[in-house]
């Protein structure tokens, strides 16, 4: 290699290094689902039939293999305003479920929530927005069975336009919602601007 081409190589490396420093200095935020993953984006890509609901049994663990989620579950209630409580923020790998509601795998709408991040960094559902239709959610239950759900859609809602009926409403089959924060971040106006919600229905039992 001639000295001149070595010089060019070094110049290119210097530019790449500078670009990486500059690019990395911008704010990175959790992944946001694309519009193609919303319900409105036409018929879903998969045709997995709904499985018969299971008898109620509390969840023990939740896995989403696609984004390396494997987390224990804790029970959640409602706060004074009727909003869902959240798991303790100190624990980065902990999801919660609404224990006065439907148990995952049973008939109805089971509600699961977890943090996208805490003060230290990314938490259990950081990558929820990177999921796509057809990905799997698995819930191990106290009765030893594992309820397997397929994702029907991932949607993003602004805080003050949260569709209660769509997310929390009753279902006549076994469904699940997995909720975390997302939809833009603003340090000036109260952090995350909304929620990312994954919608799923039961397709099998192991």
């Amino acid at each position: 290699m001639s000295n001149s081409s070595k010089g060019w190589g070094i110049a290119v490396a210097a530019c790449v290094g500078l670009w990486m420093i500059q690019n990395g200095s911008g704010e990175i935020t959790p992944p946001v689902p694309s519009a193609a993953q919303a319900f409105a984006a036409g018929p879903s890509v998969h045709t997995d039939a709904a499985a018969d609901p299971l008898p109620p049994s509390p969840p023990v663990r939740l896995r989403i293999p696609e984004i390396d989620v494997d987390t224990p579950m804790t029970g959640l209630g409602l706060d004074g305003s009727g909003a869902l409580e959240v798991p303790p923020a100190e624990d980065r790998n902990l999801a919660g479920w609404y224990e006065n509601g439907t148990k995952p795998g049973a008939k109805g709408t089971a509600i699961v929530a977890g943090h996208v991040d805490n003060a230290q960094g990314p938490a259990v559902f950081y990558a929820l927005g990177a999921l796509k239709k057809g990905h799997r959610i698995e819930v191990d239950r106290q009765d030893g069975r594992t309820a397997v759900f397929t994702i029907d859609a991932i949607e993003v809602y602004e805080k003050d336009r949260f569709p209660d009926a769509k997310v929390y409403g009753e279902a006549d089959r076994a469904e699940i919602r997995v909720i975390t924060c997302g939809g833009g971040f603003s340090r000036k106006s109260g952090g995350y601007q909304g929620n990312v919600v994954a919608f799923g229905h039961l397709i099998g039992v192991r």
């Binding site: 070094i10 990486m20 420093i21 990175i28 935020t29 909003a83 006065n100 003060a119 809602y157 971040f185």
Partner: protein, 182 residues
């Protein structure tokens, strides 16, 4: 093979009819419009009307029955859901006794039996389904601790830049020494 279940079913049906026959007179005497012989026959209890039949915690539930008779009284038992005991007294319809209790906030979702013991020795039972409200509104599941500069990329960039600087210095020195030699 297919015939085996038939005699079994007949036996069960006969037993149900027999129980129903025993319970039927009281059911009719109560003028129970539902005529739910299955509930009526359960331990010989009369029916207890529960309103609303499905309630969330904090709701006041009203129960009434004909079991206690005209101008009767009774004691209700809602201990199954942690609501303790309550009194039943004659209502405006004197043949009906009425009582109330409140679904406690700690009551778990599920189906509970509410029973009543009348002063006349008769008992009544009814079902109450406890359902909890759905959550409402958005969920506060993040504070932004993951938002910020990409330290890994910055470090990698700095490393590439440093390598380029070292390489550049080495190249310049070589050129300089090459020039001297030549």
């Amino acid at each position: 093979m297919r015939r085996t279940p038939v005699p079994l079913l007949t036996g069960t049906a006969l037993a149900v009819v027999a129980l129903g026959a025993l319970a039927a007179p009281t059911a009719y005497a109560n003028g129970d419009p539902q005529g739910d012989s299955r509930k009526e026959s359960h331990q010989g209890s009369h029916s207890l009307e529960v309103f609303p039949s499905s309630a969330d915690p904090g709701t006041t539930v009203t129960v009434n029955t004909l079991a206690c008779g005209k101008h009767g009284h009774g004691v209700g038992d809602a201990n199954s859901l942690g609501a303790g005991e309550f009194q039943l007294n004659p209502s405006t319809h004197k043949e009906v006794v009425v009582g109330q209790f409140t679904v406690p906030h700690h009551a778990k979702a599920g189906t509970y039996w509410i029973s009543v013991a009348c002063d006349n020795g008769k008992t009544a039972r009814g079902e109450l389904v406890v359902k909890h409200k759905n959550p409402s509104g958005h969920v506060r599941t993040g504070i932004g601790g993951s938002v910020g500069p990409d330290h890994t990329q910055i470090a990698a960039g700095a490393a590439v830049l440093a390598a380029a600087a070292v390489g550049g210095t080495w190249l310049l020195r070589r050129r300089a020494s090459g020039a001297q030699d030549g």
